[in-house]
């Protein structure tokens, strides 16, 4: 089926990949520079990694970032899954579309708007800015993506599965815990995963709602980058790149797991 492509198409793709990846590898490459700047490579050295691991403030911030990501994605997954179940149970199509539109508002809103409006909201509530406000914001902007990952799973679920469970004597709670939630697990896992990466990736919203005492990685890199290049950040980005690779591999695995299940089922029917 696959048509043979002209050589120029492949050359074009190679150039695209080079453009996409060269800044990243450039960054990593200079993390091994013995010198102090992102130019004139003066010899291989791990000195910046040494600096990074000796930088208690930076390590604390890395820890903060992961704690926020883990907690926010966990809570967002719970709320989002219930939200998806709720939206799914709405039969009225107008109400359902309305809920879906409201759900997606935070997904399409620019980060600055989310950040600024949350800042107004927290200030009005008299909340002090810091870990709490950052955590709440991350939960808030992660919920809709969880809903979007869980809802298709619910829609593809055959409604007769629920009938079958009731038919065999299950009450509502048993239907939920024994049939629906296990069925949704891949979707919930994907939602959790996306929420986690959303949180790790966020800069703008955190920048608005974090106070002086609390910082995440992205905010810290921003304030350091404004002061100029420091190869410690290069070392950090190399580490982050590895983590991203691991996350992608994890996500790929979850997806793969889902699709093989599906394709097997297709074959079984044949």
């Amino acid at each position: 089926m696959v048509e043979k492509q002209s050589r120029w198409a492949n050359v074009y793709l190679v150039i695209m990949f080079l453009i996409l990846y060269s800044p990243i590898f450039y960054l990593i490459f200079y993390s091994f520079n013995a010198g102090q700047y992102m130019q004139n490579f003066s010899g291989f050295s791990l000195v910046h990694y040494g600096e990074l691991f000796a930088d208690d403030r930076m390590l604390q911030i890395v820890l903060n970032t992961f704690v926020v990501a883990l907690l926010s994605s966990l809570l967002a997954t719970i709320v989002g899954t219930f939200g998806a179940l709720g939206i799914f149970s709405v039969r009225n199509s107008f109400l359902k579309n309305l809920l879906l539109s409201l759900n997606n508002i935070l997904l399409v809103s620019p980060d600055v708007i989310i950040g600024a409006s949350f800042l107004i909201f927290f200030t009005l509530l008299g909340l002090s800015l810091g870990f709490g406000s950052v955590l709440m914001s991350h939960i808030a902007f992660s919920i809709p993506i969880v809903v979007l990952m869980v809802l298709p799973k619910l829609n593809e679920m055959n409604s007769s599965l629920i009938d079958a469970a009731q038919d065999l004597g299950a009450n509502s709670w048993q239907v939920l815990t024994r049939v629906i939630l296990p069925y949704l697990t891949p979707g919930i896992a994907a939602g959790f995963f996306m929420a986690f990466t959303y949180s790790l990736d966020d800069f703008a919203v955190t920048f608005f709602v974090t106070g002086n005492g609390f910082s995440t990685l992205a905010v810290e890199i921003y304030s350091r980058a404004r002061q100029g290049v420091s190869l410690e950040i290069n070392a950090l980005s190399a580490m982050m790149f590895l983590i991203s690779l691991a996350l992608v591999a994890g996500y790929f695995f979850i997806n793969q797991h889902n699709t093989t299940r599906k394709s097997k089922k297709g074959r079984g029917r044949g």
Binding site: A164, Q166, D167, L168, G169, A170, N171, K265, G268
Partner: protein, 361 residues
């Protein structure tokens, strides 16, 4: 002695504007194989869902074992369902699916294991306990679904077009197996299908449905031989349906001639429809024929030839013959008086039964 297990009294069901069941009355006796037969949208699955408790009646009473069960939730009813798409839980293996109902009731492990083993043996899937649902073929999934429903010891088993997803050969096999299973277990089966052959082959009793009504119910032979109206005659088996006039008792006129028949109890000169089954018609020489027809087309069907012809009154005839005929030739058509079945327009099932009883006495 037979005992009534389920009864519908003037049950209706509507979804918003549309009425899907219009005043259904039916009686189900314990230990028989029932079929609800009708085209899609006739309301047959709705009846099944009302019995199972997945939806509730708009009005009327549903009675199970003498008690009104309209408000009893599905998980408290002593009926179980085999779903059209099987509805096996994909997150559980075969054993866990079959054991599901029992684990909810808190039956102890040893008992569950024993029962699952028995059930899987019964549906010829012994040794499949650890298989995941994805690994099973359609026919095997079907068997697991039956085992899962029966493992709950239901008094009534509901089957919602369970064979429709299987290929022809497998469907035939499963028809025999289900029939045999029902006779062995002695519990009531209520089977929903749109396939008239399936209904005729398996059932003790058939309800023919259309547009939210039960048009006729009876044994397969009754329904085949004595369809109450045009719809039933057309839906069950193939029919030649011709307009006619009932001259007097035992005398009917159609295709421009008068014939002797065995029906009675109608007004003199009442307009009726006449049914003649293709397999009851025989071709013969023009001299011996009750009617003369011209052969238009024929096709070989394996065990017979299907021939279409028209008479001099321009009525179409379908004939099933063991021997081929000659195209465009003129042939005689014969049938016996008992082969002629008369249908009145707009006769209800009750009137139909009453009339039959009157003149058969």
């Amino acid at each position: 002695m037979t005992q009534t297990i389920i009864e519908f009294k003037n049950v209706t069901k509507s979804y918003e504007e549309t009425q899907v069941l219009t005043g259904v009355d039916l009686t189900i006796e314990a230990g028989k194989f029932y079929t609800l037969l009708g085209p899609s949208g006739s309301g047959k699955t709705t009846i099944l869902r009302l019995i199972a408790g997945f939806s509730s009646a708009t009005s009327g009473d549903i009675i199970f074992d003498g008690k009104r069960i309209n408000d009893v939730p599905a998980n408290k009813r002593r009926v179980n369902t085999v779903f059209q798409n099987y509805a096996l839980f994909p997150n559980m293996n075969v054993f866990e699916n079959v054991a599901f109902g029992m684990t909810l009731k808190g039956v102890n492990k040893a008992q569950i294991k024993e029962k699952v083993t028995t059930m899987l043996e019964m549906v010829q899937l012994a040794g499949y306990e650890d298989r995941s649902i994805d690994e099973l073929s359609g026919g095997q999934q079907q068997r697991v679904a039956i085992a899962r429903a029966l493992a709950n010891d239901p008094e009534v088993l509901l089957l919602d077009e369970p064979l429709s997803a299987l290929d022809y050969k497998l469907r035939k096999d499963m028809q025999y197996e289900l029939r045999e299973l029902q006779q062995r277990l002695g519990i009531t089966f209520i089977f929903v299908t749109h396939d008239q052959e399936e209904a005729l082959a398996m059932s003790d009793w058939i309800f023919v449905m259309n547009e939210g009504k039960i048009l006729q119910n009876g044994t397969p032979v009754d329904i085949y031989d004595e369809p109450i109206n045009h719809f039933v005659a057309n839906f069950i088996g193939e029919s030649n349906i011709i307009d006619g006039v009932m001259r007097e008792d035992y005398k009917v006129m159609f295709a421009g001639k008068e014939f002797e028949n065995v029906d009675a109890g109608m007004r003199p000169n009442e307009r009726v429809e006449v049914v003649l089954r293709p397999e009851d018609l025989d071709l013969t020489t023009p001299e011996n024929g009750k009617l003369i027809v011209t052969i238009d087309a024929q096709s070989f069907r394996g065990d017979y030839y299907e021939i279409s012809a028209h008479d001099d009154d321009n009525n179409e005839w379908r004939i099933q013959a063991t021997n081929p005929s000659v195209l465009n030739s003129r042939q005689g058509l014969t049938f016996d008086p008992e082969d002629i079945h008369i249908m009145r327009f707009d006769e209800s099932e009750d009137d139909f039964d009453a009339r039959l009883e009157n003149y058969e006495e």
